[in-house]
């Protein structure tokens, strides 16, 4: 049975059994339940759990009103079609957006990886690339909103294609998700700047928090980013494909 070693700041290293036994021993241990998980990361996981409930409630509510309305639901693949030179291609914009967001998760992974190697330069670059993808996603979303509002006449309270709840759910859910992406982009830029300046190499204290800055933050931010990405997959499936 493999044994993982715990990090200690003093004294001898304790050993920890694997598997279920390890799980039980962690939960019955003192100090930390999740061994070797920094505070920020634990807190992010708990936040994401709470946020999952928010998005679930949004999606469930959307499904409920889709069933409660008596007016037919617009056909998503027609509404979200773009035509290049005449032929409308269904869902093309959203396919590109989804692709971009998923790619950004890949670049985030690279940023986290380089962060752990304390490669200042590459971490910052990949964070910025991720931010760029994120910003592109939000930009395309803005384009999609504009097109729906200006060209197709979709409004939160009604639309020419069918049930009013189509527009309301669409703007509410993609808006809330887009807000998450935008916040993520801001933090990506902020953290990239700190990485670039080398704040985490000298463990510079945060301005407000007076906590030492560490590369761990990159991973914590990564968790958030992947979550936002995952949520998009559900929105995509339930809103655009259904």
């Amino acid at each position: 049975m493999a044994e993982t070693t715990l990090t200690h700041t003093e004294g001898t290293a304790a050993t920890r059994p694997d598997g279920l036994e390890g799980f039980v021993s962690d939960w019955s241990s003192d100090q930390r339940t999740f061994k070797n998980v920094p505070w920020g990361k634990a807190m992010m996981w708990i936040f994401l759990l709470s946020d999952t409930f928010i998005f679930s409630c949004f999606l469930l509510s959307y499904m409920t009103v889709r069933m409660s309305t008596t007016v037919p639901w617009p056909n998503a693949s027609e509404v979200f079609a773009l035509s290049f030179g005449g032929e409308p291609i269904p869902l093309i914009l959203i396919a590109i957006m989804t692709f971009i967001l998923i790619t950004s998760s890949g670049t985030m992974v690279l940023a986290v990886n380089y962060g752990y190697r304390k490669d200042r330069f590459k971490t910052a670059i990949f964070l910025l690339i991720t931010a760029l993808f994120g910003a592109t996603f939000v930009g395309m979303q803005a384009f999609e909103w504009t097109k729906l509002i200006v060209e197709e006449g979709v409004r939160p309270w009604g639309n020419p294609m069918g049930a009013a709840q189509f527009g309301s759910s669409f703007f509410m859910i993609t808006g809330f998700h887009g807000f998450h992406v935008s916040v993520g982009v801001l933090f990506l830029i902020l953290i990239a700047r700190k990485v670039w300046r080398g704040d985490f190499d000298i463990e510079k204290k945060g301005f407000f928090t007076s906590r030492k800055g560490r590369y761990e933050i990159v991973e914590t931010l990564g968790l958030y980013w992947h979550f936002v990405d995952l949520v998009w997959v559900f929105i995509f499936a339930f809103f655009y494909l259904w």
């Binding site: 700041t9 304790a14 003192d30 505070w39 807190m43 409930f53 009103v65 939160p156 309301s168 007076s210």
Partner: protein
Amino acid sequence: MAEVGAEIERIGPAEVEDVELYHAKSWITKYVFSQDAKVIAIQYSATAIAIGMVALVLSWLMRLQLGFPESFDFIEAQDYYQFITMHGMIMVVYLLTALFLGGFGNYLIPLMVGARDMVFPYVNMLSYWIYLLAVLVLVASFFVPGGPTGAGWTLYPPQAILTGTPGAGAGIVLMLVSLALFIIGFTMGGLNYVTTVLQARTRGMTLMRMPLTVWGIFTATVLALLAFPALFVGAVMMTLDSVLGTSFFMPTIVSQGELLKHDGGSPILFQHLFWFFGHPEVYIVALPAFGIVSDLISVHARRHIFGYRMMVWAIVIIGALSFVVWAHHMYVSGMNPYFGFFFATTTLIIAVPTAIKVYNWTLTLWRANINFTLPMLFALAFIVTFVNGGITGLFLGNVVVDVPLSDTMFVVAHFHMVMGVAPILVIFGAIYHWYPLMTGRMLNEAMGQFHFWVTFLGAYMIFLPIHYLGFLGVPRRYFEMGTTSFIPESAHTLNEFITVVALIVGVAQLVFFYNVVWSMIKGKKAGHNPWKATTLEWQTEEVPPGHGNFGRELPVVYRWAYDYGVPGAEDDFVPQNHPPKRAPARAAE
């Protein structure tokens, strides 16, 4: 001694280096924009109690109207609905939730688990300021045209946003915005409380050695983090319905002779969202009370809590079950009857762990050395009241019994007993218990006794008769009864009696506030650990505990929190940080 007692064992070294705290540089960062959980706790408590006073005054106004209808010109039917709504919402969310979690949670969690502060003090500070903003937005709704919303604290659409309802314009929107802010602020604090309990305990502090107070607050916070999202989503959607004219909750509807633009929404959806939050909310208020009361009983009866492990599991199981009972509030909503069957079953199952807790409190007291201190009196009063409210809950949990009782005063009596009076009694008990820690002085005993007896007996004189009114069929949320054949004249006399008592009880609270202020200056010096408690918050170097809670070294925990009445111990109790006699030398380092 007992199950999780002081078994001799080696305590591992610290896994995380001691955190560096934010040190305030000016008066403002020390007392106003403070990052110290203890200061934040007091800010939270003061704000919660201040807004709670508004709710108290509103309850007097309602009682005046119910006791002496047609005698007060300044209370119109409209006003009455606004009073009801604001009273209910403030009491439940802005007073009790904020006080238990933001107040007691902030003060006690770091101290009791042996941490220097919450894990992210800056976020914790933001939590308070956003809460304050939420309260201010709520208060602002009293001053906008149309006044605050009068939709009832449940805010059910469609009526909540239809023009006939008081405050249907700005009032309801401000209420929803305030709730959303509250949730955001609470989440910032709640994440801190949970992470602190899970990841920042001191050496030797295992989960199963935590005082039940921490278990109660911790579990309640987890519930809140998972339940508030539903309310948040409901608030967002209703705001959109109201401001942008969407139809999430609004069906096709004719209001005041006019066909509205709304179409195809689902009002029942809001009820589901609201109660998916609303029921856990009951336990968000009750679980901290359970935890605190367990500790009060144990300390003041000098006896270990009976069945500590069972108590912990009961808290956790009640917490989990509270997510699958929400629709017992919707038996008369036109929901599918099979749902009613399911939710009645789960509701009755919750009674099992709850009853276990009551039995264990009783067994803790059984042949114990009960000191009738003020905290103990309040704890005993809590048990009685809670059992009372719990039993009427069994009535309401059964569909066939609930249908005739629904929307009568019986419901009002039930929830006031179980989530109004009972938690408030615990809050008072807890204040009498921890005041010496927070100020270094004891609260005055004579004033406390007066306060206790008037509050406890008064609460019964107010709410017991209300059960009876409910059986008579007096409806809930009615501005006045008028002359109705099924309501006898005696009910009106009873209403007058209740109102008089409610006013007396209300005024008696001034004695408590006077006591709090008076004792701060003139109270008996408390010294270290006046109640001879084992938990860590009483073992600090300074009283009240300073910034960073403990001295240079964090305490090391060797035993559970309930070594009371230990035979052979010098003082009949052993604090959690006292090493066992034959402990290996290195453990004491």
